[in-house]
């Protein structure tokens, strides 16, 4: 069974640019979660999508947004990039909604903002 996949693996952008990160969940999983893992900090919850709807978001500004497609894949968009957006962005998926239970993580996208 294929795991959670994310693309691209690495990305370098300059301040002010926009970026789109992509995630494909495990087959049969309807929930997708996005996290930011900055150096020296724990994983910070960004967004949770289930059945195409945004269910919750963490304490991040509106320039962080995303969506979930009918096939349950998801995109994370970050506008007006700032230096502190440099981090590993992780996507996870799980069965159903509600419990964040047994989230399976992808390998992440390493974003560097110069």
């Amino acid at each position: 069974e294929a795991g959670v996949t994310q693309s691209p693996t690495h990305l370098i952008k300059t301040r002010g640019q926009q970026v789109t990160l992509r995630c494909s969940p495990i087959s049969g999983h309807t929930s997708v979660y996005w996290y930011q893992q900055a150096l020296g900090l724990g994983l910070q919850f960004l967004l949770w999508y289930d059945e195409g709807e945004e269910r919750n978001r963490g304490n991040f500004p509106p320039r962080f947004s995303g969506r979930q497609f009918p096939n349950y894949s998801s995109e994370l968009n970050v506008n007006a990039l700032e230096l502190e957006d440099s981090a590993l962005y992780l996507c996870a998926s799980s069965h159903g909604q509600g419990a964040f239970n047994e989230q399976f993580f992808g390998p992440g996208t390493r974003l560097t903002v110069l």
Binding site: Y35, G42, L43, W48, R55, N56, G98, F100, F104, G106
Partner: protein, 110 residues
């Protein structure tokens, strides 16, 4: 504000030397306490979910326990392949979000 604190930040053990990692939490409406393992450059790997105080779960050399204020991850007779960062996270149903600690970096040497 929900808070999850892990200690120690780093731990170095010799092979076979058992120890425990601590995860203390201050959250409202805990629905579940999760443990993950993260290897360098990879996403976290799910280990356990604990739902109520007194609950224990085991997997190979790892055993997780939960009280009303903290959780412990006990590592019995660790091997070098157990070297990783161990993360705990609290799920609060009221906010429907997962709050992670910053992790304990474990190194097991021969």
């Amino acid at each position: 504000e929900d808070q999850v604190t892990q200690s120690p930040e780093a731990l170095r053990l010799q092979e076979g030397e058992s120890s425990s990692l601590n995860c203390s939490y201050t959250v409202s409406g805990l629905r579940g306490l999760f443990w993950y393992r993260q290897d360098p450059g990879k996403g976290p790997e799910f280990l356990f979910t604990l739902y109520s105080a007194g609950e224990e779960k085991e997997k190979e050399r790892l055993k997780a326990t939960l009280t009303k204020k903290e959780s412990f991850l006990h590592i019995t007779a660790p091997k070098p392949e157990d070297s990783a960062t161990y993360l705990c996270a609290a799920y609060t149903g009221t906010a429907s979000k997962l709050t992670f600690g910053t992790g304990t970096r474990l190194q097991v040497t021969l």
